[in-house]
Amino acid sequence: MARSFVTIALPKGKLLEDSLKVLTEVGIPCQDVSEESRKLIFPLPEAEVEIIICRPTDIPTFVEYGAADIGFVGKDTLLEQNKDVVELLDLGFGYCRFVVAMPEEKVPSKLPDGTYNLQELNNQRVATKFPRVAEEFFTEQGMQVFPIKLHGNIELAPRVGLAEMIVDIVSTGKTLRQNKLVEVAPMLESTTRFIANRVSYRMKYERINDLVEKLRQSL
């Protein structure tokens, strides 16, 4: 295996287009890479690159095991999975925020400083794709809650009584409004990150570092 050759894992879905754009800008010709083609592996021998396309939540796993040397993945996924990977660069795109939200009619009372009194939500159920992030946030507030892990359509949970509130990522807040949910606390922000396998980062340092520097300049 040549130390200049890298396998890059890219997330299918909304981050793919921006990911391909920045890679093209740094000289990796990925015009043929697309989700529509149904191919999962795209060899680009001239650029000494192989691109694989995976589910966003699987990217840290591919990279942790070294099946991919590097990957593009949202910070939200990284925070939730806590995998042993090297986080090298903030690529800036794919911005979103983690929030706590709940139905309008159930929001807690406000404190003198204008924020919601989260303590009223102790021991309630939180529907989320991110139980780890949620639990850590509430623990920091000195609270205990019961996270319920869901895989999609989180907004549905409080409407049918599965949970009192949700922890989810929002970019514009439109989905929350459509479902009559109100943000009661901001948590964290997330953007796409460039990650590397810890061994690849050492063994293929020159190549990976070169990519990082080029990406940093093109941002």
């Binding site: 295996m1 095991y65 986080e87 690849s200 050492r202 063994m203």
Partner: protein, 382 residues
């Protein structure tokens, strides 16, 4: 009584080893341990169970140990590594030894680890009682030769030094809070987080540069020169000098080409105090060799000894090597008179052959068929 479905499984993270798998491990182990012995390391073994008080004096928040209680209610830990138990053993049972003492081991260790199972084989060495950089170079050279011994060529050892990191942390006069966050992010290899943390602090530019550069300081010997331009602090100079000496002795051992310097290698802020190193092979996503100098551990068990060593994760190392077919016997002995079959079998075994005997009377064609199925080259009728 039939076993339930639980009774048919092994506990999470625990695996059986079938003949082929075990053979690959044992061949690797035999080669590496005989290499260790050629370098005058004596093989020892500590017990599978240790008191929690030995392995882990202070209860941390989260740890990867497999624990149970003894009848008196003491916490017992299945050994997660052997460096600490060997320190206990040397400082209690081997105090009259002549130092420097060279010990080696091959043993199963236990940790809750998602990537390579909760039980895995470690081979390692400890060189106890010498502060010399030659001792560090010796164990690194031995790690290189161990990887070569099992047929590895395209591997890399990355070498760093804890003293350079601690030196910078002390010199820069950072708040405890900042230092805690920085170390935590460095441990998680969250370099984006580090950049944010450092830039958010309004440090003077030289401090900022040092803190940002540190995790990426990487290269051959000239990199150490760069470190010296970042600081005048005596403890850093000493650490750089000791790293330079180790690196230079690696040339005398003939292994320098396999070693890169990399100050981002900080082995988990555990017991390491001096040089630290990791070994990587392509296709394995985590280090297969981990080691370094730990000069403060022995004192915790009584006598103060500087020490250095490493451990190899054998399974990760040999996992990808192709396994030759396991052949159980050289010859199958069969016949109608089972007494004679037994006697002939014993005779051939004394002559050094691996012998399988038929357990029931057998015809020539049955014996041929069995031998073929089992890959036994020869059959012998009595």
């Amino acid at each position: 009584m039939k076993r339930t479905s639980l009774g048919l499984k092994t506990p999470g993270g625990m695996k059986d080893l079938l003949p082929e798998e075990l053979m690959a491990l044992e061949q690797g182990e035999e080669k590496i341990l005989s290499l260790f012995q050629n370098w005058a390391y004596q093989k020892v073994l500590t017990p599978t169970l240790e008191y929690g008080a030995c392995i882990q004096p202070l209860e941390e928040e989260e740890n990867p140990f497999l624990k149970l209680f003894d009848r008196q209610g003491h916490v017992l830990i299945l050994r997660p590594e052997l460096t600490t138990p060997i320190a206990r053993m040397v400082n209690t049972r081997m105090r009259s030894s002549v130092f420097p003492l060279r010990l080696c081991y091959g043993a199963d260790v236990f940790r809750y680890s998602p990537s390579y199972g909760h039980e895995f084989r470690q081979l390692g060495v400890e060189l106890i009682g010498s502060p010399s950089p030659v001792a560090d170079a010796e164990v690194i050279a031995l790690a290189v030769e161990a990887l070569q011994e099992v047929g590895r060529e395209d591997f890399q050892i990355s070498l760093g030094h804890m003293g350079i990191f601690t030196g910078f942390m002390n010199e820069l006069n950072l708040t405890k809070e900042f230092r805690g966050k920085y170390e935590e992010m460095l441990g998680r290899k969250d370099y984006v987080g580090i950049e944010r943390l450092v830039r958010g602090e309004n440090f003077e530019s030289k401090v900022e540069e040092t803190l940002l550069k540190f995790p990426h300081l990487h290269g051959k010997e000239e990199m150490l020169q760069e470190v010296l331009t970042l600081s005048e602090e005596p403890s850093i100079k000493n650490a750089v000098e000791s790293l330079r000496q180790v690196y230079s002795y690696l040339q005398d051992f003939g292994v320098q080409e396999y070693v890169s310097l990399d100050l981002g290698i900080l082995r988990g802020f555990s017991y390491y105090t001096g040089v630290v190193f990791e070994g990587y092979v392509p296709g394995v996503g985590f280090p297969v060799v981990e080691g370094g100098r730990y000069d403060a551990l022995y004192e915790e068990f009584g006598d103060d000894h500087p020490a250095t060593g490493f451990a190899i994760n054998l399974k990760a190392l040999v996992e990808q090597t192709p396994v030759s077919e396991v052949i159980s016997a050289d010859v199958l002995v069969y016949g109608d008179d089972l007494g004679k079959v037994i006697q002939e079998g014993q005779k051939l075994r004394q002559g050094g052959q691996r012998v399988e005997i038929s357990l029931e009377p057998m015809t020539a064609s049955e014996a041929e068929k069995l031998a073929e199925e089992k890959g036994i080259q020869r059959i012998q009728q009595v």
